[in-house]
Assembly symmetry: C2
Homo-oligomer: 370 residues x 2
Amino acid sequence: MTNLRVPGPTPCPDEVLAAVGGQMINHRGPEFRDLITRVHRRLQEVFQTKNDVLILTASGTGAMEAALVNTLSPGDGVLCVSIGEFGERFIQIAQAYGMRVVKVDFPYGHAADPEEVRKALRAHPWVKAVCVTHNETSTGVTNDLQALARVVKEADKLLIVDAISSLGCIPLPVDAWGCDVVATASQKGFMVPPGLAFVSMSPLAWEAYRSARSPRYYLDLGKHKAFFEKGQTPWTPAVSLLYGLDVSLEAMLRRGMEAIYAHHARIGALTRAGVRALGLSLLPVEERYASNTVTAIKVPEGVDGNRLVALLREEFGVVVAGGQGPLAGRVIRIGHMGYVREEDIREALEALGKALTRMGYRTPAPTASV
Amino acid sequence: MTNLRVPGPTPCPDEVLAAVGGQMINHRGPEFRDLITRVHRRLQEVFQTKNDVLILTASGTGAMEAALVNTLSPGDGVLCVSIGEFGERFIQIAQAYGMRVVKVDFPYGHAADPEEVRKALRAHPWVKAVCVTHNETSTGVTNDLQALARVVKEADKLLIVDAISSLGCIPLPVDAWGCDVVATASQKGFMVPPGLAFVSMSPLAWEAYRSARSPRYYLDLGKHKAFFEKGQTPWTPAVSLLYGLDVSLEAMLRRGMEAIYAHHARIGALTRAGVRALGLSLLPVEERYASNTVTAIKVPEGVDGNRLVALLREEFGVVVAGGQGPLAGRVIRIGHMGYVREEDIREALEALGKALTRMGYRTPAPTASV
């Protein structure tokens, strides 16, 4: 059995997969209307929002693009807070649509400093929206979204959040924190295969929609809202994945979001302790920003990161991710979002230790310092 | 058991659904590379093309949008041949992206006349591309794509084809007919749940890509091509649906495309004969253009089309589609694409006869005229 520990897609529970294998129905009929209405209500609970949550047949990147093109026009200013590869993705999308990007970035491994964002907003008062990555999957760093949201809302800007690898795993009360547009996807915290993406839109976001002139059709959230009111989607949706989502949301809410957050906090701490016990270092420079959904570990000096990933997969059945972009070969990442048990992490860490030993790495003797 | 006879999503064979329920894998690992490489090769066989076939996580509409935004710029002329709702969709997408649309339309129920398209191309020599719906799902009419393609190629224009409800069911030799961009989706001829879309790109289409300035990111086919060369997709794909597609393509090619085309031709003829035997009329005005994947039937005078659809579903377990756009309430549509057996059609027609009788309709006495 493979221990799939990439930061998405995550393994899916058996009952979710059984539902995903269900036969097709008419996506313009009453059964589908009941399904999407129920799923929408439950998504609102997980998002902790009264806002519309639009359901797209797309990857998370589609939801990020939808967030931008439905609220902004070419030439509009957008401040992008970047702490890694997925922060860069927001910038690339905004640039593809001719928006004016102000980039506020921080070195990989660091969280965003709300004070720097405040200063940038003062220096560029013409920006209309701020894009923030809640949990940066490429570096294993979780931003202090609540503090960042406060800064954005004080400046009266639209807040657009990439919550792809956070929502459903770590707390993100969308309404309480004032997040206008929140994009996420099915294959991480929701424990459903990839192919569905979700975008919540606040009343302020809908106001921006009405004047936003970016071209859009497939990702047009207004069309999604109009069809949702009839219990439909504008285009034929990924029905199978909605079956899985229905089952998964029901199980998540039965367990309770507080219990799920506590589980991920415990799993995150367990992973970091295990990494330290092997004498390895985390990429996140401050423990308090280390992610509870993905742990990025520095590949020790003299070890080939790509070979380590291959060895773990081929010899130990543990599938982890390497580094992305400038981090390629320099970090490995263990995903622990969604469906994950303590024993999955223990097994992965044990395999990591053995693989490193096989590659000639020796755990340093423990020292007094932490 | 429901007899799902909408024109997509179609029922899926048991072995496809079993595959769709499979556990997740790393979408950046060797298993996925093997999967997407194999699926791509088989897609090329079904498309009868040597061109690249890009695999998107999207509905068919996403593939139609990808076809336009990857080959054209704002202000570019595009001639849209429209014979129904899906012809109109190409126009809406082109307009959303600021293209200059020349519309050549024909009354619903008619096929496009290649001579009219030739005249329009002469009158508007500045158009760069022509959009054609191969099979118009809203009217049950199949265009003579081969004849239309000849006209487009004589005029040296880029040919963009919506083959969503045709490919895999009726002949469409992409290279032999000179189709530059062909868009289709998983939930019709491919017998796979919705959520994947495919776009083939000829060398001429890639040449257009290089100068096309329409904004795009999620649907950028160049990114898809670059990642495919690494055995990946740029964004996390709908892995489950790829499992199903793999199984379905293998079965389709084992059966042979000629056998599949013959089956759909037989099923189409059977459906039309049954409709006539009930004294009903087809929406297509000429039998030779009547679709072998969906049959659009005029609702007889005095019968409420919406009530008829509901009665078939609720009392007979037969799920058919009503009319779209201006045809709402005026036609019903029986889908017979992809996974369909003769008995499914016989059962649907028998139910249709009984439902109409219950609604007070009396089959007219047979007359000498056909």
